[in-house]
Symmetry: C2
Subunit: 254 residues, 2 copies
């Protein structure tokens, strides 16, 4: 018997639509990802080899490889030379994204609300000028918001934006998140540098968040860059640790 084991992808009814504007490799990777997420391809399963899969779908091997590689990059598959491609065991959720607190809360069904405390233009401080990479004598947008879930304060968000980058409408800011407004304005977010720490609440901070003076707070500072490398936002956030923690998936860099 040449092949006692069955290629599990045979039973997947994979197919690609050459008329679609969606790239072929992407169509394939989506179908595979969906099969993995639905549990049709169970952890540990060895996929059939690339050549055969390519032949069955009428694709070239590089195209199939591109599809598989994208899932390897996402951490869903593992390739081993001489062995094959295997579905990774276990609870791989989502790798860490450059995410918006607002979007995260909304996705978790937490019904976030925002109260804008400050929305003005001010002269930059030295710290903010350094973080944003703007001249020391320029002006920046200053934004201060309280974020609520279930009517309870959860975080205090203080942000600075370079001048002229964006029109910041208080109404819009209370209806959605800052990142979404930036994306809507045609800004392509690219990367961010974050620092997460902790410290005791001052009297003002405690009052704002409904904590006691001296209570532990989770802090996050972030500078966000767009795809031209320009700093588009500097933020200093404080969170109530009883209501928020940072949770994420890391992949090993190869």
């Amino acid at each position: 018997m040449p092949k006692p084991e069955v290629d599990p992808t045979v039973q997947l009814e994979l197919s690609v639509d050459r008329g679609s504007p969606v790239p072929l490799y992407f169509q394939l990777s989506q179908q595979l990802e969906s099969a993995i997420e639905r549990g049709v391809l169970t952890p540990g399963t060895l996929l059939g080899n690339e050549i055969e899969l390519a032949a069955r779908l009428g694709l070239s091997r590089p195209t199939v490889r591109q599809a598989i590689q994208s899932l390897v990059d996402k951490g869903l598959l593992v390739r081993r030379r001489g062995v094959g491609t295997q579905v990774v065991h276990s609870q791989v959720k989502r790798p860490l994204e450059l995410s918006s607190l607002y979007d995260d809360l909304e996705a978790a069904g937490q019904r976030p609300a925002t109260k804008v405390l400050v929305n003005t233009v001010v002269a930059v401080s030295a710290e903010v000028a350094a973080a944003l990479g703007v001249a020391e004598d320029s002006e920046v947008h200053r934004l201060e918001r309280l974020r609520f879930t279930h009517g309870e304060p959860m975080a205090h968000l203080c942000n600075y934006l370079p001048p002229g980058l964006l029109d910041l409408d208080t109404g819009q800011l209370e209806a959605t998140g800052l990142y979404r407004l930036m994306r809507a304005a045609g800004i392509t977010l690219h990367s961010a540098r974050q620092t997460i720490g902790a410290r005791s609440a001052t009297a003002t901070e405690a009052e704002r968040l409904g904590e006691q003076t001296g209570a532990p707070l989770l802090t996050m500072q972030r500078v966000t860059f767009d795809d031209t490398g320009r700093a588009v936002e500097f933020g200093t956030h404080t969170y109530r640790p009883s209501r928020y923690s940072f949770e994420f998936q890391l992949l090993v860099r190869s």
Copy 2:
């Protein structure tokens, strides 16, 4: 004039060695990365087009694309259709890696030291069994360490490992980090799920770390998986926020 601008990669003396076992695309990407890090290719620079670069190096276009793509994945380059490939502006340091505290400290020149408090085998608690995915009646390694820098306590590390995974020698644990021992034992780390939060120190915790009872502590919980998806470590760590914070670079997932 057909080309008033000069392709900056021309002056880079790029070359590949076909006799080397190092893949051609990797040789190229390393040379480009080094040029970017040394500042020879400055931020904003537009690279010449892929076809020409391939011709000049005697490589095929897919090979050159593979080299460039790996740098795009690292966040060093940005491609724009119809425009070209550009060196990203700005202080892109290192993306978040699945990193070892010990290695991080050593790389930062902090001369870390470790004191092993507990190194035994115990019956699992329900929480640990769930995190590691082992049976409720099995045994696990339990590890408790204090991490010092400059002679001052910085973190308390409590870890659990599946039975039989690794020989844990107390001497080795005080000389290096847990991840390095796991890698040396042939374990390929693949991913981890982390939670970062904050809370007040209990009396015991405060005593261990040289803080006051009730002082804010930074906390991290992590489950690490190898490339077969098996959980290989579960850890609960607490840090003195005055001496440690989490700092990292995020890239937007495309």
